[in-house]
Symmetry: C2
């Protein structure tokens, strides 16, 4: 039988264990996997595009477990009552190829994206960073805020969204949790004085939500909204003014903010920083930019963590996903046993 | 909610409706999809190889529905009590990216592979074909036999397998269904006098289960076992002696029997024959070879067919795979509603 964590169980588990604890624990799994980056099978995700959205498969393997995520991105979904992003994921045993674990990943992706952002910011943001600006207060925003509090102690947020309802929603969710939130009058206003800027907007278009003159020296920019060909958030001049860090270069060149730059534009893969092979931030004045698009290894870590964390709990069920004939060469026996013909 | 056909329901449905009827109906869906071949998003499947097996994702889309299959291939699995191939698949709505249908595909893949073989043979085998030789009597063999009976009226089988237990298993399953079966003394013996030869062996290696001198004029060769880089069944001389038909050339050049041939070795894609754009069999003496590896559109057709066929029946359940917050931008509300913090 295959273990399955559905939405109901995932939400109950997250609420009970606490999103901040989950994000902190997930970062441990992620750092473990990023440290053995070279050991993984890696490929850019496989995307099927339409003019209004994308569906992607994101596989990877560490030669013990294989994992993949199904994820969509449809920026116009919320106006029709659907979420921009939904996802589910699977782990399998590489040794026999059998799927072992299935989980909803709409909630889990929000947690893993937040964990990735915080994992990277912990290494790249200026020590003593206190204030985070957040441009975009959609589905992912509360998870981002909790991740930065859990990991860097960020309590003070300056926010902006073009949708007033999204701002109101964010305030309603986040203020009871003890954050100090200021709503800016614009994106430009919101980022003033911030140590960290998180951009998390969703428009399948070339957008410029921030221009280079707004990015003050020493800022760490956590850019997670630009993640598809033709979908960017930042003025290219911002990328020229800082050091750019990425997950998996071949994928980010196609999907990330750096799709706007020449193909030899210099970037550093984050795993190299984690291992000490390449420098991270080199001065307090440097602008560091995490051009994040989301990579399969992050989902692999998230799935691995949830699989381990729910073992022995009531937060999963077993589903009958893989046929199991007594004789492995006699698949037909399953049908014959029930067949009027057999 | 997402509809889910698990193994239990799939087997009950197949046994009740009957595998031959299912294969015939599935071929209708497949031909419909092969006729609009050019309309599909197509890419070679995405494979993660180890020395002992492969795990693959096979996506495609007709711009209304998106589908993919997860499938493994581990030829040494049966000796350890596991099946060589297991699979599951998903359909999603391209317009919002939400997954709508999940199904076991271990049983379904055996049916779809058999349906594909029979769909192709119906167009390419010599009219009046009466006898089929089957080399390899593993998991797929009974489904192949039923498909060829349902589609071409084949009643007479000549079989061979290196594993006597697999032969005994095949006889036990197939004889009660009214086939006339002769067990050969070797592969060479079994193919003598056959109109159609189905090769369905599984070894992750270059094997030569048939040599060119054994292939008589007019034979249709349904070669389904060679489907991975380094995994072939046929003497390359066989390919030179006939006309080779494939599913999706870019994938078959890497995975099929033609991986043994130069990259410009001429092949015909089957959809072109179906549309009448290219010739199929041109004479009763011609040897036609279907170098089948399995392509995503076949799984898409199979999933589409099962989805439609089980609608309104009790052969599926609904699972809670996709989060559904009241406000699509308020994913966090799902957690907050249950959280001690919220």
């Amino acid at each position: 039988m295959t273990r399955f964590v559905d939405v109901h169980n995932m939400v109950r588990w997250v609420a009970g264990r606490g999103p901040e604890r989950i994000i902190s624990e997930m970062i441990e799994y992620m750092e473990e996997d990023f440290r053995r980056w070279e050991h993984f099978d890696k490929c850019p995700r496989v995307a099927s595009h339409t003019p209004f959205g994308v569906i992607e498969l994101m596989p990877t393997s560490d030669h013990e477990s294989y994992g993949f995520k199904y994820v969509n991105g449809h920026p116009s979904n919320p106006s029709r009552g659907f979420q921009t992003v939904t996802a589910f994921g699977v782990l399998a045993d590489v040794h026999n190829g059998y799927p072992t674990f299935l989980a909803e990943m709409t909630v889990l992706t929000a947690l893993r994206t937040a964990a990735t952002s915080a994992m990277v910011a912990r290494r790249l943001a200026r020590p003593g960073s206190r204030v985070m600006a957040m441009i975009g207060t959609g589905s992912q925003s509360e998870f981002q805020a909790l991740a930065f509090r859990a990991t860097l102690g960020i309590q003070e947020l300056r926010i902006w969204d073009t949708d007033p309802a999204a701002i109101a929603k964010f305030l309603r969710n986040i203020e009871p949790m003890g954050f100090d939130v200021t709503v800016g009058s614009s994106a430009a206003d919101a980022v003033q004085g911030a140590d960290i800027i998180t951009t998390c907007t969703a428009d399948k278009a070339r957008a410029t939500i921030l221009s280079a003159d707004l990015i003050e020296p020493g800022v760490h920019l956590n850019a997670i909204g630009g993640d598809c060909p033709g979908k960017t958030e930042l003025d290219p001049a911002i990328l020229l003014g800082g050091e750019v860090f990425v997950e998996f270069t071949p994928q980010t060149r196609v999907e990330g903010e750096i799709q706007q730059m020449p193909t030899d534009f210099p970037v550093t893969e984050f795993w190299e920083v984690l291992l000490g092979a390449r420098p991270g931030r080199t001065s307090p004045e440097q602008i560091t930019i995490f051009d994040s698009v989301g990579f399969a290894i992050e989902d692999f870590s998230a799935l691995r963590y949830v699989r381990d964390a729910v073992a022995g709990t009531a937060f999963f069920e077993e589903i009958d996903l893989v046929a199991n004939p007594d004789d492995p060469k006699d698949l037909f026996a399953l049908v014959a046993a029930l067949s009027p013909v057999g």
